[in-house]
């Protein structure tokens, strides 16, 4: 550390007044203009918004798929779409909703909000964050580009072998599917690592473990679930593509393999996946219930312990997706018990939220109304999940519309309703303007009735014997009426999202100005301007309570002594969050984009020739070296 270098960057935040500090910091932390600037940005807020917008576009695409399917199923023996197209549609619907919407939308909120909530200036490893977004984007574009070019996977979002093998499904559809999985998993894993490190090491001074907002705790557990679950699907999808491209024998029973190995690997990921999608929903609920009840969520410790329990238990359930494969009885019994056990921590969470509402005086704004919808729907879905945990009952309802109903109750009720609530809740923070309340209530009415009209009848259809993934059914089965009802509901439900889209666009232009903290909430993201400046906080806050904005009043304690002209942030100690290091946060860079592009090219090329990996890797390696190579001498100190 040479004194000369130290000299040049002497200006510290303590030297400047509030106004000048804000201007100087926003110059230091801002992103450049122009195409290169746009592609180089490492601001977690910009990347978070990109994640969210992309995920919502995929939600719309997946929703349109669903509507086409519902129109096909509205009447028996319908010929609106044929079997081939229908199979492509449900594959794309499931794949898009799980991998291109469900997981990334959680990442989007994590990337945008976690750094703000823990009171830091950027996410850890911001260039990796930019890289992860581009990898996700390219993965989604590849899948949908392939779809447009009639390269369409049609073996379901689960791609069971041997159906997904080359001899039963020639063509490139499943290869595109498998590579897209790898793309999105790389993205999700990268974000998880960033979130883990941001939460563990970049919390504002004083934010001890028991002062971490529940939202952040939830996303921390969420990230750990991803870290342990996603390698399974990456391994599995790599094995599948090798099976198809270079003739490995992992799943071939005639050569010592086993098709059930695919199922084990897939569901070892696939069940935690449900919690990966659901946990961000509970994070939204915790934040919104606290704000609108005007008090912290009841039972902080039970809530955190429940989250951790959910994280652990979610790995002990995967076999309940395989109850009808003819498993040994004792094994199945174990998974019944574990699947039922996860209802306990979920029950604790539900109880704590309701107790918070009971103790408080709930303010019925749109976000809270959607959260109430969440209770109504998710609790029903969770309880039908208890039924599915029972092996005997599962043998009747597995792979029927009962299961379709169940997981839509859980995923839409558990994630999408809180997500819509979260959009209404944080929209003012992101744009500076409030969304329209009246439209919000109309949207809730449409979404709630539409959802229940669509999915409740599916329970009955499943019990009446309607299997999943059938493109049509004969009239004499008697399923026509309930299907028609479900299809009508689906249109209503879809309309609710169009209404939200309209509300978002209109409110972004002319909504009421929000101010810093329109809901009177307690967490740190509301302590800064709406929308936040590139540096997030002009002065890093010091935290002395679990609800900093409710406890501090006018007495804002802050950190002083950070450099103004460099991207410095405070790294704190693991448990007590004592300030430890002034770490330099990486500056914008185009290399992550280029590396993501090269990675995408190599992956797509590998579908056509395995050599693409061979000639793609050195290119990616060179780009990575360029990414990490220090550009100035100052980066070394």
């Amino acid at each position: 550390m040479s004194p000369a270098v130290e000299e040049r960057h002497e200006t510290r935040d303590t030297d400047l007044g509030d106004e000048e500090l804000r201007v100087r910091l926003s110059k230091t932390w801002g992103s450049a203009r122009g195409l290169i600037g746009i592609l180089s940005t490492v601001d977690h807020k910009i990347i978070g918004i990109r994640y969210a917008v992309t995920a919502f576009v995929f939600l719309l695409a997946g929703g349109i798929m669903a509507i086409i399917m519902r129109l096909q199923l509205a009447r028996p023996d319908s010929h609106l779409v044929d079997a081939e197209l229908y199979n492509q549609l449900f594959t794309m619907h499931g794949t898009t909703m799980m991998f291109l919407f469900g997981v990334p939308v959680g990442e989007a909120f994590a990337v945008y909000l976690v750094p703000l909530m823990v009171g830091t200036r950027n996410i850890a490893f911001p260039r990796l964050n930019a890289f992860s977004y581009y990898v996700y984007l390219f993965g989604g574009l590849m899948l949908w580009g392939g779809f447009a070019l009639s390269i369409r996977p049609d073996v379901g979002w689960f791609s069971y072998v041997p159906l997904a093998n080359l001899n039963f499904t020639p063509g490139k559809g499943p290869d595109y599917w498998a590579q897209m999985i790898t793309f999105t998993e790389v993205a999700a894993l990268a974000v998880s690592v960033e979130i883990v490190v941001t939460v563990l090491k970049q919390r504002a001074p004083g934010m001890t473990l028991d002062r971490i907002p529940l939202f952040v705790w939830t996303l921390l557990v969420h990230s750990f679930i991803i870290i342990f679950a996603m390698p399974a699907i990456m391994l599995a999808s790599s094995m599948l593509i090798m099976e198809r491209l270079v003739g490995t024998q992992f799943f071939n029973p005639d050569a010592g393999g086993d098709p059930l190995l695919w199922q084990h690997l897939f569901w070892f990921f696939g069940h935690p996946e449900v919690y990966i999608i659901f946990l961000p929903g509970t994070a939204f609920v915790s934040a919104i219930v606290a704000t609108f009840s005007r008090r912290p969520v009841f039972g902080y410790l039970p809530m955190v312990l429940s989250l951790i329990a959910i994280g652990f238990l979610s790995f002990g359930l995967w076999v309940h997706h395989m109850f009808v494969t003819g498993l040994p009885e004792i094994g199945a019994a174990f998974f019944t018990a574990s699947s039922m056990a996860i209802a306990i921590p979920n029950g604790v969470q539900i109880f704590c939220w309701i107790a918070t509402l009971w103790d408080g005086k709930p303010v019925l704004k749109t976000p809270l109304i959607f959260v109430l919808g969440f209770f109504f729907i998710f609790v029903a879905g969770g309880l039908s999940g208890v039924m599915l945990a029972s092996v005997p009952i599962d043998t009747q309802v597995h792979d029927t519309y009962f299961v379709v109903a169940h997981f839509h109750y859980v995923l839409i009720g558990g994630t999408v309703f809180p997500l819509v609530a979260a959009v209404y809740y944080w929209f003012p923070k992101v744009t500076g303007r409030l969304m329209d309340e009246r439209l919000g209530k109309w949207q809730f009415f449409l979404a709630f009735t539409g959802f229940n009209i669509t999915f409740f009848p599916m329970h009955l259809l499943g019990l009446h014997g309607m299997p999943r993934r059938v493109y049509t059914y004969p009239a004499e089965t008697g399923w026509g009426g309930l299907n028609l009802l479900a299809s009508a509901g689906a249109l209503l439900f879809f309309a609710s999202f169009l209404l939200m889209l309209y509300n978002m666009i209109a409110s972004a232009r002319s909504g009421a100005l929000a101010g810093d903290n329109p809901w009177g909430a307690d967490t740190l993201e509301w302590a800064t301007s709406s929308p936040p400046q590139p540096q997030n906080f002009d002065r890093i806050p010091c935290v002395t309570s679990g609800s900093p904005l409710w406890d501090q009043g006018d007495h804002k304690a802050v950190v002083g002594g950070l450099k103004v002209d460099e991207r410095e942030l405070v790294v704190t100690s693991l448990t007590e969050a004592r300030p430890d290091i002034r770490e330099e946060s990486p500056a914008p860079s185009i290399w992550p984009f280029l590396a993501a592009f090269a990675t995408a090219a190599a992956f797509i090329g590998s579908i056509y020739t395995p050599w693409a990996v061979t000639w793609g890797s050195p290119v990616v390696a060179i780009l990575l070296v360029a990414w990490f190579w220090p550009k100035t001498i100052e980066e070394n100190v």
């Binding site: 039963f168 009808v324 709930p362 599962d394 009747q396 019990l463 014997g465 008697g478 028609l484």
Partner: protein, 359 residues
């Protein structure tokens, strides 16, 4: 006996789509000697949920294979179909039609409780009975849990309202009733889940245990997209997409697959079980009453998965034995079958197996 083969109504490939499937197995059921009253009962229920039957399709359906009885039933049904549902498709939508449709559909959801031809809630065998009972117990208990939770939520919301501008409370005292409620909630959750788990294990044993050897063992081999059925034994023979079993005896079904994963499921008789390459699974079924029970493949198996149906025909033991003896007899001329199914493709045709050849 005049029995209509379900396979004649079965088809595959999208290119030469012969039109909607006929579902004549219902008529077959009626033709069974002892099934008359059952069919009657079913018909009565159908009248209640009659809106579900599209008259347009019903007319097409019987096609060449009509029977007087079936026709009669259809006519009966046509008269009772509320027009609202289908008018939605024929005319421009109008709100009144939609409203009356909603009402009709809502009514049907309740009324159709147990009326199904392929329904887990319409059990006709010991095992399916046990599963249905278990299902209803779970539904009742969990439904109650849901109601209690919603009541709690409702109470929480209505207890104190009207609080605009309320100052936030950062450290509210934890009140005694909440603590008690928390303890009660946790305890009751444990008790309820433990109880349900025990019931589930018990049901697992009752529903899947294999007691004494079954009277008959039948091999079912799944193919894209048909079922090969092989009666084992000295006088073995094969059929396709149809299993005939004697009423009142346990039948073991050995499940294997010739290509991809399928799942064998006859909801009225038992839960489902997968057919997996390199693995053999065994399922026991038993029918209490004569009749035709429909089932279909429950694991997505490729393009025509939707049309991979199978029928279990339960016959009186005597009748079953006569049928079996006839099947086991030396091969009959099969020219008429070949002619009849000209559209069948050679490679994956179920009709080869349908030749009722003896082995």
């Amino acid at each position: 006996m005049q029995f209509r083969w379900p396979h004649e109504t079965w088809n595959f490939g999208t290119a030469a789509w012969p039109g909607p499937l006929s579902q004549l197995w219902r008529v077959d059921a009626a033709e069974q000697k002892n099934a008359a009253d059952q069919a009657e009962g079913e018909e009565r229920r159908n009248e209640e949920s009659g809106f579900a039957k599209n008259p347009g399709i019903a007319v097409q359906t019987h096609g060449s294979a009509s029977s007087a009885l079936y026709e009669a039933l259809n006519t009966e049904r046509d008269r009772r179909v509320p027009d609202a549902v289908f008018s939605l498709f024929r005319r421009a939508p109008n709100w009144r039609a939609l409203a009356s449709f909603m009402a009709a559909a809502g009514g049907s959801a309740l009324a159709s409780g147990c009326a199904g031809v392929q329904s887990a809630l319409d059990p006709h065998g010991e095992r399916a009975d046990a599963l249905a009972v278990l299902f209803w117990i779970f539904t009742a208990v969990l439904g109650l849990v849901w109601l209690v939770t919603m009541a709690g939520l409702f109470f929480a919301l209505t207890r104190r309202r009207d609080s605009r501008g309320e100052q936030a409370e950062a450290h509210p005292a934890v009140k005694r009733p909440v603590r008690i409620a928390f303890a009660a909630m946790l305890t009751s959750t444990f008790i309820i889940l433990s109880g349900l788990a025990v019931l589930s294990f018990d049901g697992q044993r009752a529903g899947f245990g294999h007691g004494v050897g079954a009277a008959i063992t039948i091999s079912v081999i799944g193919h894209q997209w048909w079922w090969q059925v092989r009666y084992e034994g000295n006088n073995g023979f094969e059929t396709a997409n149809e299993i005939r079993i004697p009423v009142g005896s346990a039948v073991d079904i050995k499940l294997t697959t010739g290509d991809v994963i399928h799942s064998f499921w006859i909801p009225s008789l038992a839960g489902k079980l997968d057919l997996i390459p390199g693995k053999s699974n065994e399922l026991r079924i038993q029918a209490d009453k004569p009749g035709v029970y429909r089932g279909q493949c429950a694991e997505f198996c490729g393009q025509q998965h939707a049309h991979m149906a199978i029928f279990v025909v339960a016959l009186e033991p005597g009748e079953f034995e006569r049928w079996r003896a006839k099947q086991a007899a030396p091969a009959m001329p099969m020219a008429h079958l070949a002619k009849q199914n000209a559209f069948a493709s050679a490679a994956s045709s179920p009709f080869a197996a349908l030749s009722e050849r003896s082995q």
